[in-house]
Assembly symmetry: C2
């Protein structure tokens, strides 16, 4: 048994009657049927999440979970681990991409220290949920203990439980965390690690080959870690574990979850293996340039909104996709119907 407290439970959103009513509404808006493309399915999905024909997206919250990775010492990233804490300072100072985008779209931005190797001065928009000063080296042993993993997941649950609003945008920062995401994808989706590994923040060919060799060895070392939380403990990291809890709690409280890129997607993968209904609540913001991400989205049978060759993380893709999600809801709720404004329907020639 896991030392975890009971995890949040998640109800599937399927509701044939409501779905039919939402589709009827969309089909009678003043536009050709289906002409808003994927935004129509998105509006319907959000209606089902909120159990209403008139959904509203309130107080969207960007959560950026940050942590360090013991495996980074093995040379699997183009950047040094110090960049994790330096970027947290940059988020808080307003100079990072996610800071700029959150300002642009008036998204509340909270940084969660899930386990950064740095002592931060307290700040209003920085939550200290540090599990340790980074995970352990997963080539030597598990990245975290089972207890640490449980505490991290629970911290994610608690962080979301205390947030206002009904939308959570997940983001992350952690030098080395594409390695954790790649190993989780390989293990939980049964994909060969070579197809899961990418250049991360910018490895060259030699660096990529080294990363692949290291990750193969780590996977071999933790061959018995097959269950979702065991794999999570073996491969890390704290920010991913906290996003697992955050996603489970967000879905449990029927919030829309906007999933950023590869690493957030790996957290959703873990969480969906525990509670498959989680996926009903997820909007996948984009397909990134990181090569494993397409495989991950395929495995989850997930549609994405943007395809802009992003590979930054921080929740930046989620924030960039946010206006589209808001648009989908506005179009559903605010557009006129043919009948209401006297526009002729099709084939009335």
């Amino acid at each position: 048994m896991s030392p975890l407290q009971a995890l949040p439970t998640i109800a599937a959103t399927a509701d044939a009657m409501l779905s039919a009513r939402l589709q009827h509404l969309l089909d009678h808006k003043t536009k050709p049927q289906g002409s808003l493309g994927r935004l129509e399915a998105l509006a319907l999905r959000i209606g089902l999440i909120q159990r209403t024909e008139t959904p509203q997206l309130l107080h969207p919250q960007v959560l950026v979970f940050a942590a360090d990775h013991g495996l980074a010492a093995r040379g699997i990233s183009a950047f040094p681990s110090d960049v994790t804490w330096q970027m947290v300072e940059n988020f808080l100072a307003g100079g990072a991409a996610i800071s700029v985008l959150a300002r642009q779209h008036q998204l509340a931005l909270t940084i969660v220290d899930a386990g950064v190797n740095h002592a931060f001065a307290p700040r209003a928009d920085l939550l200290n949920r540090k599990i340790a000063l980074g995970t352990a080296d997963s080539l030597a042993g598990p990245a975290m203990t089972v207890l640490q993993c449980a505490r991290a997941v629970e911290a994610g649950v608690e962080v979301v439980r205390n947030l206002p609003g009904n939308v959570v945008l997940l983001g992350e920062m952690g030098i080395g965390n594409t390695s954790s995401a790649a190993m989780l994808l390989a293990r939980l989706a049964g994909v060969d690690i070579a197809a899961c590994v990418g250049r991360g923040t910018g490895l060259d060919d030699a660096g990529l080959a080294r990363k692949l060799a290291v990750l193969r060895a780590v996977l071999d070392k933790h061959a018995p870690a097959q269950a979702p939380l065991e794999a999570l403990a073996a491969f890390g990291g704290f920010e991913i574990a906290m996003m697992v809890g955050a996603a489970l709690q967000a879905a449990s409280s029927r919030r829309v979850i906007v999933v950023d890129g590869f690493i957030c997607g790996a957290a959703v993968l873990v969480a969906s293996k525990i509670e498959p209904a989680l996926l009903d609540y997820c909007v996948f913001a984009h397909r990134s340039a990181e090569s494993g991400h397409a495989r991950l989205l395929d495995h989850l049978e997930a549609e994405h909104l943007l395809n802009l060759e992003l590979r930054l993380g921080e929740g930046s893709g989620a924030a960039l996709a946010w206006p589209l999600i808001d648009s989908a809801v506005h179009l559903l709720v605010q557009m006129a119907s043919f009948a209401s404004v006297g526009v002729s329907e099709r084939d009335a020639v």
Copy 2:
């Protein structure tokens, strides 16, 4: 000789020094190089348009050009022509998709009556630039006379000349206008008409076959109309001609042009055959589900931002893409650099 007055001239934006400075700025922002994907090229493009390292997008203006098409009587659309004027009323009343999106993003919205078969009551946000009550049937003769075509292009020039700001988002409404766009693409890009024709607002298979047969006959009838403005006069419509003028004037005054879907793209195609440097100023908002659009974008070697299977028109795709364009500029101008905030650069392990 065309009866046109001198058309606006357009300067290419290429500037190797400024381009290098912009790229250097982007490369030293606190993110892995290139990790903002296509938004980086977009920011650079806008910097070149505005000839500055600190571009600003001011007072973005959505222009929706509306007109009717004589060819619509041949059964080439799923909707009756009356929908053109009814949708103009819907735009003005705030119930259409573009109305909702313009409100969401605080975009000024102006509707231009380029030739709708309806007498509108005057309204502040409706410009009467009516050339005629719709084009003529292009299967019987040219859609417009050379003089009408010139007047329409000039009206588009004049409309943009009087707009504030430095961004124009082009949209359109006109039952039957995917036919004009398809014929312009076929003629000016040398693509077989079968690859240019799509279902428009929702034709079934029989309707699609009829549309293709009609358009082949129209193309045959106007075989001599090979030059851009001759083809435009032959195939219509007034809204497309006015967008040609609007695009030329927007580029001439160094504004960013956000191009919506297939029909706006066809206007840009015509205009770019007159002034190839126009394309430097164009941002292609999306690739639509209308099958000719991908061919058109390929012909223009244009990258698009969104791919959401939209096929609505009205400028809706341009408005949906607007926040991404604004983001690109905000990221360029507002993000911190590595040096300014003391974040370690790559490979400093």
